[in-house]
């Protein structure tokens, strides 16, 4: 797989909520090469502190010139990133990792939580090349309506029906996004594509196992390089001893491949 290191110009900064930002970056090389589920490593500091790049999923691409990332301001790195304006340049490396495998013609269910929704929009957009919209179910969850609404909007614009859940009940189902799977239980087998916080990924993996559905999950670990060089992003395998490496073997895995802790 080919990756690039580029100084990408920021074309647009959109503040979706108090702490959720969507960045549009100019990057021909990455836009042309990337597949859904892959990520980029962004250098946020011009100096040595914070030292490491930060990983972000590709949220969207026009396939030609631009890519988007969607992120939440959490700690120092993302705080610094949030201070960048349109016109400035960011040092980015990508596309990296192994993304989702689209199963053509197979009914599908996308499950996303919080910032895990970011790569699912790119996935949904790509899927529509080979799947009818009515075969795609989209289940999204977040803490509040304020956070979820702008994210769900992207899927609706693609003509997809979105079911929502929020922690505080301000939009859709009051509770876990996983609860939304219940009413599809009697459906014929669907391919699951999931990205979100770890407990949610584990719950989706368990549910899929019970239903006998195949499930692809995107995992996060601490990453120093994103390039398969440091071996820092280890996550235990289900079978045999040893670890998978999230930046190279993943971030997307078959839920049967990894050990759920």
């Amino acid at each position: 797989m080919e990756s690039f290191q580029e100084k990408s110009e920021i074309i647009k900064v959109e503040q979706l909520t108090d702490d959720v930002i969507r960045l549009t970056l100019h990057s021909q090389a990455i836009a042309k090469a990337t597949l859904p589920g892959q990520f980029v490593m962004i250098k946020v500091s011009g100096g040595h502190d914070p030292l490491l790049r930060r990983p972000f999923s590709l949220h969207r691409t026009d396939g030609k010139e631009t890519v988007q990332i969607l992120y939440k301001v959490l700690g120092r790195g993302t705080k610094i990133l949030s201070e960048f304006c349109a016109g400035q340049k960011l040092d980015i490396v990508g596309p990296l990792g192994h993304g989702f495998t689209i199963k053509k013609d197979k009914p599908t269910c996308l499950v996303g939580g919080g910032m895990g929704i970011a790569p699912l929009l790119f996935l949904a957009d790509t899927m529509l090349n080979s799947l009818e919209p009515q075969n795609i179910i989209v289940l999204l969850g977040a803490q509040t309506k304020a956070e979820l609404e702008p994210l769900a909007g992207g899927f609706e614009k693609l003509g997809l029906v979105v079911e929502t859940a929020t922690d505080d009940g301000s939009l859709g189902h009051h509770g876990f996004v996983i609860d939304l799977m219940d009413k599809f239980e009697t459906d014929p087998s669907r391919e699951m594509y999931a990205c979100g916080p770890y407990p949610m990924m584990r719950a989706v993996a368990r549910k899929s196992e019970i239903l006998g559905w195949n499930c692809q999950v995107s995992l996060e670990t601490m990453m120093a390089c994103g390039l398969a060089a440091c071996l820092g992003c280890a996550y235990p395998r289900k079978y045999g001893s040893g670890y998978v490496h999230v930046c190279k073997d993943g971030p997307v895995f078959d839920s049967e491949e990894v050990l759920w802790l």
């Binding site: 990756s3 490396v93 670990t221 120093a224 071996l231 280890a234």
Partner: protein, 307 residues
Amino acid sequence: MALVKPDLQVDIGNLHLQNPVMTASGTFGYGEEFASIVDLSRLGAIVVKGISVVPRVGNSPPRVAETACGMLNAIGLENVGVERFVSEKLPYLRNVNVPVVVNILGDTTEEYQDLASQLNDIPEVAAIEVNISCPNVKKGGVAFGTDPEMAQTVTRTVRENCSKPIIVKLSPNVTDITVIAKAVEDAGADAVSLINTILGMAINTGRRRPVLANVVGGLSGPAIKPIALRMVWQAANAVNIPIVGIGGICSAQDAVEFLLAGASAIQVGTANFINPRVTEEVIDGIREYLIGQKMESVQECIGALKV
């Protein structure tokens, strides 16, 4: 006749390098990982991830943590083992046309011996770098590199089983680096490389737990550069064999500091994670520095520190 370009070539014992910039073990995979970003053929040498006799799965995660201007790692020497290294990783490197330095590690002197003799027969291996920062399981887990006698024994064993250039990679976790440097020089090392990571630790206060599953880990990156530079300077004044400087090098400026302190070559480690193209930038920057200083060869710069 004035040279158009300053001459960057250096020799580390019998190992000839087109320039003094190598990659540090464990930070550049097996080379291939960087091939789409770095022109590998420009490098002085590629030092691969440490190899053991049998494959190792490594430590439980979390294995890495960010610290001020640095990072901690406790990878646990995960590697594919010498057999798979030779059959799966080396063939790619054969075509790169840059010297391949194989970093080796073991739990016992016998394992180092085994690795040295196996690699001695492989033409694509240009040199061996001996990581002596590993615990000696027969001596209660004390690192080979922290005891002059153990360091000497390992070096002698590798020397007796291998005719290729041998670089012994020193651990900084010692009171006096010159004692160890002299010990391995006496045992037949062609060169020493230093420093490996400095033992460190980080704590998550909210969880009241260590950040790394292994509790402690090796500190690397710009944070350790002053310590590394000091140790290279001390070692350079203590031994007559060439020195390879390592520790926090992120720019040509950093690299030149090590050359001035007495290193004949340098390795770039953690900086590869932050700026994958850094090695090429360091090579170009050293050349510019030499031009600026009106030096015709990098040799003029090595150990040229005025004190």
